[in-house]
Each structure stands twice: as C-alpha cells, then as structure tokens.
Symmetry: C2
Subunit: 210 residues, 2 copies
C-alpha cells in the first residue's frame, strides 16, 4: 500500500514537472513560430558523408506531391543503375518530371571531358525547371559532386538559383557542397556518418541504397 502510494505520488510529481517543462518549451516554440512570418521558396542543401542526402530530397518530393505541387528531379551523377525512387516516381509523369542525366559516379566513368559535357547538359535541364513557375519544388540530386569536381561553375549555378520563381523550393544534395552554396542556402544539413552497414560487410540493397 505504501509502495503503491509512493509510486502514485512519484508519478504525479513526474507528470507535474513534465507539464511545467513542456509549457515552458511550448512558449519558446510558439514565440519562434510567431517570429517566422516570411513565406518564400527556400533553398535546401543536404551534404556530408552520411546516408540520407538523396533520400531526404526524395522525401521532400513526395511531401510536395502530397500538396498537389508539380515537381522536377534532375539526377547529376547517379543513373548507371535504375533506382527504386526513379522507378516509383516515373509512375507519375503528369506531376513529376524526372531526368537522369548522369552516367554514374566519377570513378566509374574516369573521363573528365565526358563528365563535364554531361554535367553541362544536366544543368541546362535544371535551368529549364528553375525558370518554370509551375514547378513548386526542384530536386537537384548529386549536384554538389559536379560542383566539387568543378564540372560546373558555382557562380553560374548560384545566379540561376537566384533568378528562379520566388515561391519555388530547391533541394540540392551530394557530398562536399561548396562554401558559396552553403552561404546562399536557407537550410543546410550535414548528414554526418555515425556508421554505415556497408562498412560492416552488408551489401547495398534494393529499398535501402538502390
């Protein structure tokens, strides 16, 4: 009985402290929400060595599609292997324009001149999407790789991004985002590698990496 009574007292104290803490937290969060009044297209960058850069971009693609927005995807590097996201999104040609412009990773092609030609063709395709106000969100998947290897000029890319429709969101992914792009972006996440199944001898698998 005493134990029960004490536990109930403890629970009640814990619940009360929880409520007080959460009330304080809500006040802080609400103040931040009230201060965030700007509505415009945002530029997001996912970089770093960990998993989740492209997949987060594709999550935003379906988030936008759920709000009946038109979306566009350009893949700059991947494309040697057809991926699950490509197979899935090609089911919706009216809502999602999907362009695979890369031939694979740079260490697979080993041909810098050809990589540059491909990157320039991909950027021409991206520029079309970035000048179309009917497209609500554009995913430029692995663009950072093309910038990192100087296949594309970062100032040209930034100028085209600045010139895009005011309400259009853009997500750029890939390792090694250049400092100029990070500076220009509204939201930047570094997907930091804590550990990866691959390093533990587990194959890249459909639904996970492919």
């Amino acid at each position: 009985m005493t134990t029960e009574h004490n536990r109930s007292d403890n629970d009640s104290g814990l619940n009360e402290r929880h409520r007080t803490r959460m009330q304080r937290k809500k006040a802080v969060v609400d103040a931040k929400i009230a201060a965030a009044t700007d509505v415009r297209g945002v530029l997001l960058v996912n970089t770093g060595n960990g998993k989740g850069k492209s997949s987060s971009g594709f999550g935003m693609v379906i988030r936008a599609m759920g709000h009946d927005m038109q979306v566009g995807v350009v893949q700059f590097i991947k494309g040697a292997i057809p991926t699950g996201e490509e197979r899935f999104l090609r089911r919706f040609p009216e809502q999602c324009e999907f362009y695979v412009m890369g031939e694979g990773y740079t260490w697979e092609t080993q041909d810098r001149t050809r990589d540059i030609e491909k990157a320039e063709a991909a950027w021409a395709c991206a520029r079309e999407l970035l000048s179309d106000p009917s497209i609500g969100l554009v995913l430029l998947d692995e663009l950072n790789i093309a910038l990192k290897y100087h296949y594309l000029d970062v100032q040209t890319v930034l100028a085209d991004l600045r010139a895009r429709p005011a309400a259009q969101h853009v997500v750029i992914t890939g390792r090694g985002a250049p400092p100029e792009l990070i500076e220009a972006a509204d939201t930047v996440t570094d997907m930091t590698l804590v550990k990866h199944a691959f390093s533990q001898g587990i194959q890249a698998q459909p639904g996970v990496e492919l």
Copy 2:
C-alpha cells in the same frame, strides 16, 4: 596559338591526372563492394537536430515501393497536422500501411500519461508490422522522441526489433536516439544542423516542412 596550345596541354594533363585518381578511387570502392557480401534486413537510425530525418525515411519508403516492396509507416509523435507525405502515401493503401498514432509534439499535449498511452498503442501497431514477413520496410517516424522521454522501454523495443523477419529493413527517426539503439543499428546518420530557414524568420511551408 601558344595560349591555345598550352591550354590544351593543361587540359590534357588535368584529364590524365583525373583519370589516374579516379582509377585509384575505383579500385578502393570496388574492393569495398566485393567485401560487402552480407544480405539481410538492416536497421537504420536518423537522429540529430538538423532537417532531413523523417524526409529521408520517406525517401526510403518510396525507394522500397519502387522495388514493389510492401511498406509500413507508424508516426509516433507527428499527426496533429496532416502532412504532405501522409496525403501522398494514403493514395497507395495496397502497398503502404500508414498509421498516425501521435497527437502532436510533447510540448503541445503537455500530458505525460496520455502521451505514454499513445506511445504504447503506437508500439503495438509497430510490433504488428515487425512480425509480418510480407512487409519489406518499416518506417518508425519519431520513435526516438518516445524513447527519449521514456514513454517506451528501449529494451522492449530492441527485443521486438531483433525478433523481426530477417530480410525486413527498419528506419527509425527522431532527435535524441538512445545509445542502446545506436549500438544496435547497422546504419546511423546524425543530421547535423548547419542552418535552418526557420531560424531566419521563414515559415514552415507545405512541401518543405509540412
């Protein structure tokens, strides 16, 4: 003429060095791929304070759906506001089971007892998916929050994860993943905040955060 000639020499040297470097890189990558022979369901955790934890999980959901896998989603905390990803994925009830079990963030509900009841109901739902070998990938969105607040017992959660079908992939998202879960996971990414539009006065917007 001389300038042209030099540039061509320079380009040729650059291209050759690029090829040599990429050949070395390919050898390293290929050796890693050859060493990664294990095929089994992996446990992935997306944690950290930056953007991209849930969206990466949803990107993996459509990646799996692109490979014609059956998928299941349980949202532990979000759910007060219908999101784009929910609206989108509910279009595919035959391929994606989608359960919104939370009532909103802990600082909104401010009711620990009720939060615990909701978390337990959500886990019962998750356990169904984790015991169904026809489900290829399970997304447990914001589960880390429920663990962080001790709404659920981490050892119970780990035991159910260990008991799942051998080929099933699981993605767990949310800030503050407990060390026991990180230890048990195959792939862990810390979505590290570099900057966020919200802190610069930009509202959470459909297609981006909602």
